[in-house]
């Protein structure tokens, strides 16, 4: 019984994002909200509808086959000051856990764009990516879960607007 409970708890954790976003209170103030929760089974299901013959779709299909979840919250606001640094601090605090490491930090300062990218490492393998992006009138948090092949992500360059990302060695 105890073992069953432990497995059930682990299974539940795998279906949720790797950190709590705690940003739902911003939806009321936002002029536009995107809230995407795509767990592993949804991604596997969606993958079936990507064409294997179309080169671009085939690449995306291959990438998402290894991803265990994609969770995104993005808010756009009509006015500056609709979100505060404290809103992102609660996310950053969770990304201070030892399994997370920050690989990119761009600080434009107040009134400009700020962005951070974190990688989650477990037993020497990448098991997650977190992106924190903010502007005066936008806040976006992305969590991609799973043994992400960063080279595959880089190989999507130029397709569907995916950037050329230089990966840390």
């Amino acid at each position: 019984m105890r073992r069953f409970t432990l497995v059930a708890v682990c299974a539940t954790a795998l279906y949720a994002q790797q950190f709590k976003f705690n940003l739902d209170h911003l939806a009321a103030k936002a002029s536009d909200t995107v809230d995407l929760s795509l767990n592993g089974s949804t991604l596997q299901f969606a993958a079936k509808f990507f064409s294997g013959k179309d080169p671009d779709e085939a690449k995306v299909k291959k990438l998402i086959s290894s991803i265990e979840g994609i969770y995104i919250k993005s808010f756009e606001f009509k006015k500056d000051g609709s979100w505060s640094p404290a809103d992102l601090d609660s996310v950053r605090n969770q990304l201070r856990a030892p399994e997370w490491s920050r690989i990119v930090g761009v600080k434009g300062g107040e009134g400009a764009e700020n962005a951070e990218v974190y990688l989650r490492n477990e037993k020497g393998k990448v098991t997650g990516v977190a992106i924190l992006y903010s502007e005066p009138r936008e806040l976006t948090v992305v969590n991609i879960m799973g043994p992400i092949d960063l080279e595959q992500l880089a190989a999507l360059s130029g397709h569907f607007g995916v950037p050329k990302v230089k990966l840390p060695k």
Binding site: K48, A115, E135, G161, P163
Partner: protein
């Protein structure tokens, strides 16, 4: 031009927007467009659901899931693209 027209010219002289306006516009323009439900999907969904029954509904669900994945990829990749631009600007 009489006195009123002169006053109107003066009163309606161009003004500048607040500082950073052009930067905000340029930033917003570079943001990936989050496309709301494409119209073709709504039409296709209706046809599939009416004609296809259970299989049609599964097809519709698949289209919905695929569109969500595409949206997620656009947002995530758009942000990475923007971050890369910023890093490259800083390194110059």
């Amino acid at each position: 031009m009489d006195w009123l027209e002169q006053e109107l010219k003066s009163a309606l002289a161009r003004k500048e927007p607040s500082p950073g306006f052009s930067a905000r516009v340029s930033t917003a323009a570079r943001r990936p467009r989050i496309v709301a439900w494409p119209r073709w999907m709504a039409a296709a969904a209706a046809v599939i659901l009416i004609a296809g029954g259970a299989a049609g509904y599964r097809q519709y669900q698949g289209m919905v899931a695929k569109e969500k994945v595409m949206l997620a990829m656009r947002i995530a990749s758009g942000k990475l693209n923007r971050i890369q631009e910023q890093v490259m600007q800083v390194s110059r």
